[in-house]
């Protein structure tokens, strides 16, 4: 495969690596590892830990037998482990491969000025997925590019009477938080976003209040724009149910679009083709399509290219010849390209050619990521200690966006943030 591998000679031995990925993602990642194993003779033991990754890793570190390499989904863990000296600095190990990442990403993998991780996989949470055929049925031919256009299109689709404009993922609130974060970023920019994330900006500030107000526009009065109304959104909005109403595996869609990150791709049934061609139909049986657009900013906003996202950062926990080789391999563009090629994957690795992505949707996604003016990490994940409370608060506002309730909840959030973050 890549020339980077051809150079390395057979090392042999084995190395263990943990990540969240199970099921399809696990198979994809194993495909990424295959050429590495072939060329180095190293056997890689991969374990997918799912949502218990953090706990399992904490335990493994505490238990004294951590995996050699681990990929975790949040920068906080990296900081914690670095503080405990449980992970190794990477600069000298991966050498020039560290330059494959933009400064925003490197900063997120740096602790006390040392690089401890490489962001192997990234997710763009600005992505909005929509069913082009539904848009067309309402007489809309192109995706909205501004916030006001999005609202207009929503009304149009609603008036059509057959499809709900939005299938809102609610779950325990994290998708709503994502939605809020998107909107906040597009309305107020990355600087304000970072201030809010660290609670330097108050939740009771007008920026937040405005964002909530705009969000209420999006959902419509008592959830008029949402699939099943507010009640339906809350009842059926659990992940990934919310996606199947836009991209059903059989029958017809009931909603036009769904907000979530690009990892939603893996929940789109395989018979959907990416793009917005003229052949797209409403029936899941004939040729259905999916497409995305970037979460729109108000017309003329300076923050249109700011991106909110997340990712998986690879860290080295035990330093052996094999593990070093593996992390270096993960940092290389050839590793990321393999998965990119398989789809449902984007990497912040600049060296991965856009051509590696199989379709227009992921290409656009990757382009957005790499061309981002500013990149912010998902804000809720940084709210250690009150993240679930934040999600609950988001659901609260979603259900009752009245000014008085917003004021109450904002005050509550400030209290919670102060209690958890100490300021």
């Amino acid at each position: 495969n890549g020339p980077a591998l051809a150079a390395s000679k057979k090392i042999g031995g084995s190395v263990s690596i943990w990540a969240e990925w199970t099921s399809t993602e696990q198979q994809d990642f194993k495909a990424v590892l295959q050429p590495f194993e072939d060329s180095t003779g190293i056997t890689v033991h991969y374990t997918g830990k799912g949502s218990n990754m953090d706990t399992a890793l904490d335990a493994a570190v505490a238990g004294g037998s951590p995996p050699a390499v681990a990929l975790v989904p949040d920068p906080g863990t990296l900081d914690t482990l670095a503080a405990k000296h449980a992970i190794k600095p990477l600069a000298s190990i991966i050498g020039s491969e560290s330059k494959n990442y933009g400064t925003a990403w490197s900063a997120l993998a740096t602790y006390k000025k040392k690089l401890y991780g490489i962001w192997f996989k990234a997710a763009n949470k600005n992505t909005v997925y929509y069913n082009p055929a539904v848009f067309k049925a309402a007489g809309i031919s192109s995706a909205p590019t501004s916030w006001s256009q999005l609202l207009t299109d929503e009304t149009t689709i609603a008036n059509g009477g057959t499809y709900a404009p939005v299938s809102l993922c609610t779950d325990i609130g994290w998708p709503v938080a994502d939605l809020f974060q998107n909107l906040f970023l597009k309305l107020n920019g990355a600087t304000a976003y970072d201030q809010l994330a660290t609670h330097k900006m108050k939740w009771s500030s007008s920026a937040v209040t405005n964002t909530f107000a705009e969000m209420a526009q999006l959902t419509g009065a008592s959830g008029a724009n949402l699939l099943g109304g507010m009640k339906g959104a809350l009842a059926d909005g659990s992940w990934p149910n919310c996606t199947t109403s836009v991209f059903p595996a059989s029958g017809s869609p009931t909603a036009a679009m769904v907000f979530e990150a690009d990892f939603l791709t893996s929940n789109v049934p395989s018979n959907y083709t990416p793009g917005n061609g003229s052949s797209c139909t409403l029936s899941a049986k004939a040729s259905p399509c999916y497409d995305t657009f970037n979460f729109p900013a108000p017309t003329g906003s300076a923050y249109a290219a700011d991106i909110q996202g997340s990712g998986d950062v690879a860290m080295l926990l035990t330093s052996t010849r094999q593990s070093k080789a593996l992390i270096k391999y993960l940092a290389s563009p050839s590793a990321a390209s393999i998965w990119a090629n398989l789809g449902g994957f984007v990497t912040p690795n600049k060296k991965v050619a856009l051509g590696s992505y199989p379709d227009s949707v992921s290409k656009a996604d990757a382009r957005a990521l790499t061309s981002a003016k500013a990149f912010v990490f998902s804000l809720d994940d940084l709210q250690v200690g009150w993240e679930p409370a934040l999600w609950a608060d988001m659901l609260n506002v979603l259900q009752n966006p009245s000014a008085s309730n917003v004021t109450t909840v904002e005050a509550l959030m400030d209290t919670q943030a102060t209690a958890a973050l100490g300021h």
Binding site: E20, G50, N267
Partner: protein
């Protein structure tokens, strides 16, 4: 025969009928309960037999009008890996490797401890028992990390770190099964007449003999229940195995099923399939222990 019939007719009047009726009522009530209990179970089974695409789209009961919806697709997905390491059968074995020792140990240690608590004469029995019941409430989650650290200390001290090994998982399960086990056995053993133990003692049985020749046989119904539950709990555990097995290549069935689901949410059709697959062993366990629930185990023992 013909002469007998009218006599029989007269003598019991409506009373026998009333008795029969009450028996019928019991049967009807229990049948209703059984149906109530079965509906979810059947729906789980049906969900596992319907294709993924229909989940959440239409009611599972539709299969009864449209049997063409039935498919073994979910099962073939699960069984696709076969016997290989990481396959479903390998996981089944691993589950047994964990569950059987954990069940045996909990049952044995609980019985021993309960015996001591009930029939021992040392002071402070009540306090110890009190403490043990208190431990039932300790959420398993809070113990994970301290125990892992403890394992590492063991590794440092004795060169044997159970972390990442199957014994490590078993040790943890046993510890968290014990409070309930002891609680159950103790309360059950209080029902065994002391005279029986004393008879054994007089006949020259040591405590051990009394324990396993007299008390254990009499406590079989309780032991069977404890074993059933312990087995089921360990069998269905996911969290402990995930945390304690580390990178072990063999993983129990729960982890295997968990792996079939995607990282951000459960694939319910696979979960249901897995649930159906994973209940067979516990059901066998249940049925084989069922026969120990004999009525009147203590009948005829004392006046």
């Amino acid at each position: 025969m013909t002469i007998d019939a009218p006599v029989k007719e007269n003598r019991v009047g409506g009373l026998a009928k009333r008795l029969h009726l009450s028996k019928a009522v019991v049967n009807v009530i229990l049948a209703l309960v059984a149906i109530f209990w079965l509906v979810p179970t059947i729906s789980l089974l049906v969900i596992s037999l319907r294709p993924e695409s229909l989940f959440g789209v239409s009611g599972w009961w539709k299969v009864f009008t449209d049997p063409s919806q039935l498919t073994f697709g979910n099962y073939s997905t699960i069984f696709s890996q076969g016997f290989a390491t990481g396959g479903v059968l390998d996981s089944l074995l691993t589950s047994l490797e964990i569950t059987i020792p954990a069940t045996l140990l909990v049952t044995m240690i609980s019985c021993l401890a309960a015996y001591s608590l009930v029939f021992g004469s040392w002071r402070g029995r009540d306090m110890i028992f009190f403490g043990i019941v208190g431990l039932m409430v300790v959420p398993l989650q809070v113990a994970l990390i301290p125990v892992v650290q403890l394992y590492r200390e063991m590794g440092n001290l004795f060169g044997l770190n159970p972390y990442g090994t199957i014994p490590g998982v078993i040790i943890f399960h046993v510890a968290f099964g014990l409070p309930f086990g002891i609680f159950l056995m103790r309360n059950f053993l209080t029902g065994i007449p002391r005279d029986l133990l004393e008879a054994g003692r007089i006949e020259g049985a040591g405590e051990w003999k009394i324990f396993y020749r007299i008390v254990l046989p009499l406590a079989l119904p309780a032991i069977a229940s404890l074993a059933i539950f312990q087995f089921i709990w360990v069998w269905n555990d996911l969290l402990v195995a995930l945390v304690f097995l580390g990178g072990n290549v063999h993983s129990p069935l729960t982890i295997f099923l968990y792996d079939q689901t995607r990282s951000l949410a459960a694939n319910y059709w696979i979960v249901s399939t897995g649930a159906v697959v994973s209940i067979f062993v516990p059901l066998i366990v249940f049925f084989s222990f069922q026969r120990y629930f004999v009525r009147g185990v203590l009948a005829g023992a004392v006046k």
